[in-house]
């Protein structure tokens, strides 16, 4: 019957985002009763190494919410062409249009709202699907009622949407919450963007939201103006449903700078609107030709993929624990435990697109084999690119491609540099003071050289059309001599030694030292 369209990203927009979003996701799912109903959450521009926002809070969502939730992930790379045109990190019109394009075509309605709304049907037990199924074609809005922060934060249980909706019925009377704030036509109500129900067919006819609105605010009013023209009237559903907004102004959100807030021009986008259509984007709205990843919380979750990958690559431990040490004499010992390290390497990969092609530069054949096994079992379909310059590594493995480093460089979308000892055996004790032999040093020199070259030339060697920098994962680069090397070239956080892994984007150090390092990297000196 209807597709709810909301958007956001894995950040901290406003106050206590996680709680109010969980409350809202669960409450929206609670009022759905048609098998075609869905919540489309567009996760816009969350950093690639983060999970999407709903994944980050999945444990607070009800089973019903997980079932109806479809997450459409827009990557930073897909936002890159708009980055210079806006100060915002999440774009409403683009998000909502991407969802509309990919919404369930069997649904008659699209409901635009936000991740802090709860909808309470006035007839107890009546679902929003029933309500929308019974009303005539049109464009419907409802007024928004405010919910003081204390109430939703202190009294709501995230995983009890029915209880929360019951509380709202009670509070609305006891605490006089229901105040309708009228507005000029075509807006009809204040804060109209929290409930705009339009026919899916109408939204396609008017070319979705206006994607030239890049500065935030008034997208809802623009839509109201255009749909008011198209439909001739703005109808109300106030007799059917009340909408409550979890107030969150204790902390200003990124798009709220008080009187200094930059926003879309009201005159242009509301008062001088003269047509429902946006012909300039008639063929392009919602990015019809862009492949958008879809993530589900009820199947093939990141956790399931992660464990599938590791279960394929690891055997369970046979001892209660292993040990290592940070003592100085072990600083030069580059042995490490693949079984222990691989989960932390896999952890760096999982949030990336399945089609990612990764370049693996390393020394230990066993690491390459185990990594590849985990990679494929995690559902990645992109190749693992291994440069010919890395001698002694296995070839011909499924999903592996070998080639000259120069040729593979522009194909790689991520890099893994492994700094181990080529001569380390699988059953060898780890970090007992072992020194690198001549073969180890020879192989490590190659890895070092390629690492410097890859990081120093990263911006010039990206795959065609790519604008965002690629991520570098360093394996066995903590508390040994490769830590300074790795962190000279890559902006990595400080990680505990136990994880063995660092990751980040190439550093663009403007100091003389940084310039010298990049020069050396480029020239492979």
């Amino acid at each position: 019957m209807f597709s709810v369209i909301i958007y956001g990203r894995n950040d901290s927009h406003g106050y206590n985002l996680h709680k109010r979003a969980a409350i809202s996701f669960n409450a929206l799912a609670e009022v759905m009763s048609d098998p075609d109903d869905e919540i489309l959450f567009v996760d816009y521009n969350t950093p690639d190494d983060h999970p999407t926002f709903p994944e980050a809070i999945h444990d607070t969502l009800t089973e019903k919410a997980k079932k109806v939730l479809r997450i459409l992930r827009i990557r930073p790379e897909q936002h890159a062409h708009l980055k210079s045109k806006t100060h915002l990190v999440a774009l409403e019109a683009q998000s909502r249009n991407v969802a509309l394009r990919r919404s369930n075509p069997r649904n008659r309605w699209v409901l635009y709202t936000n991740t802090d709304m709860l909808l309470v049907s006035r007839t107890e037990g009546e679902s929003l699907s029933d309500i929308l199924g019974a009303i005539p074609d049109g464009f419907y809005q409802i007024p928004r009622f405010e919910l003081p922060e204390m109430l939703w934060e202190a009294a709501f249980d995230r995983r009890d949407p029915a209880g929360n909706l019951a509380k709202l019925r009670d509070w609305s009377v006891r605490y006089h919450l229901n105040q309708v704030v009228h507005n000029f036509m075509p807006m009809k109500y204040d804060a109209l963007g929290d409930f705009q129900a339009a026919l899916r067919e109408d939204m396609f006819a008017i070319h979705g939201f206006d994607e030239s609105m890049l500065l935030g605010w008034h997208c809802d009013s623009n839509l109201a103006a255009r749909l008011a023209l198209y439909r001739g009237r703005v109808d109300t559903l106030i007799d059917k449903v009340f909408g409550y907004h979890c107030d969150h102004t204790r902390v200003a959100a990124a798009n709220n700078k008080g009187r200094q807030t930059r926003m879309n021009d009201q005159d242009q986008y509301i008062w001088n609107v003269s047509t429902p259509y946006v012909p300039e984007q008639a063929e392009t709205w919602g990015w019809p030709d862009v492949e958008i990843e879809e993530v589900r919380l009820d199947r093939e979750t990141s956790y399931q993929r992660f464990t599938a990958g590791l279960d394929a690559a690891l055997k369970p431990a046979t001892v209660p624990y292993t040990s290592t040490s940070l003592e100085w004499f072990l600083y030069d010992d580059l042995t490490y435990d693949i079984d222990h390290t691989l989960p932390f390497v896999a952890d760096q990969m999982l949030t990336y697109p399945r089609s990612t092609s990764v370049m693996l530069v390393g020394t230990r054949g066993e690491f390459v084999e185990r990594f590849l096994t985990a990679w494929r079992a995690m559902g990645f379909t992109g190749p693992v690119l291994v440069p010919n310059e890395c001698e002694g590594l296995p070839s011909g493995l499924e999903g592996q491609e070998r080639g000259a480093f120069e040729d593979l460089l522009p194909r790689a979308e991520m890099f893994v540099f492994e700094f181990g000892l080529a001569t380390q055996h699988a059953d060898e004790p780890v970090r007992i003071g072992r020194q690198a032999g001549p073969l180890d040093l020879k192989r490590l020199r190659v890895v070092t050289k390629l690492f410097r070259q890859a990081t120093s030339t990263e911006s010039e060697t990206r795959p065609p059309g790519r604008r965002t920098p690629r991520r570098f994962v360093g394996v066995n680069v903590i508390y040994n001599k490769f830590w300074p090397l790795f962190t000279d070239y890559v902006g990595a956080n400080i990680n505990p030694f136990c994880s063995q892994v660092l990751a980040g984007l190439p550093r663009n150090d403007p100091s003389l030292r940084g310039k010298v390092l990049r020069f050396r990297g480029r020239r492979a000196i």
């Binding site: 006035r122 009303i135 005539p136 000029f184 036509m185 075509p186 103006a225 008011a228 023209l229 198209y230 439909r231 001739g232 009237r233 109808d235 109300t236 106030i238 007799d239 005159d267 509301i270 008062w271 001088n272 609107v273 003269s274 047509t275 429902p276 012909p279």
Partner: protein, 372 residues
Amino acid sequence: MLLRLSGSLREALGSRRRQTVDEWVPGSHGSEAEHLFLRATALFRSGDGETAIRLLRQAIEIAPAFSDAIEAEAEALDMGGDTAAASAKYEQARRLRQVGRPGAPDRHFVLRQQGSHTAEIVAYTRVLKSLKKFALPHLARGNAYLADRQPELALADYERTLKLHPNSLDALALKGEALSALGQYGAAVEALDKVIAARPKDSEALNARGIAHMALGQVEQANGDWRQQLGLLGGRPAASAYVAMRLADHEVALPHLETMVATDRSDPYWKVYLRTALLRLGRPLSADVPVDGDSWASWLLALQSGKAPETEVMARADSAARRAEALFQLGVVVNARDRSAARSYWQQVVDTAQPTLVEYAAARNELARSAS
């Protein structure tokens, strides 16, 4: 008394001076009912719900189909705590807005709208009191007038928009529609020529110019516009079916009509038009599919099947549009055995129907074709 006084004052003043931009003019529900509505909504906003309800009920008594007044009463009842009565009124208002046949799907979006728009006219007039220089309130009010069949008032709003925004092609296209609705087809073509010169892919403007051309008897030009429109519709079935029917191109219309019959069961006209196409193509009619017993469309279907006599159907045609629809179908039914009789029916359609009707264009094309 106050109402009468204010009404007569308004009328007296109205006769002496031109309507100002932010002045409200009563529309399709009649002056008295709409004045009552206006006063009731003002009283309701000022807190006197009881009097508001009383005035609204008076308005509804005068104009029972006044859905905006019914909805306003619903709001007043709801705020007063009578939720059950309010709910019934809201439903009634929604039902009333669905009464009547929606505009043809190939036409400008304004002309596809249903129901009356008094509340919108009042609301945008209020906006115009403070925002006189912007396009939207003028256009939105003009559209409401146009949709409510008051093209002279619509034209005034479009002209004001064009004075403020001389380059607004949207306002110019709507001006063309308003001129056409006023029967000023030559001026409509002139306005629409400019729109189409600047926006050759404006499907709605092409449709409007086609209608104006056809009204002027310029069949070839009209068909040229509609053929162009058909190409721009990207196969959207409802609009494509109507354009093809205007062209009397039944072969092209047929698949679109089949799609619409399968997907839109709420509009019985799809069945009527599907059978029209089948009859004109000399193909067998599908088995009768009943529609609502009393509906006008079921009489047209019965006429097509030879189950309802001409006299009875014509007697039930209670508007000029319905008479034209019946005459057109009579021509369709009789054409296979008596072309001359068919031509006579279609000529009557051309002589009596509004040029906006799909049957008008179809009849003109049928006549032009059978003459050649």
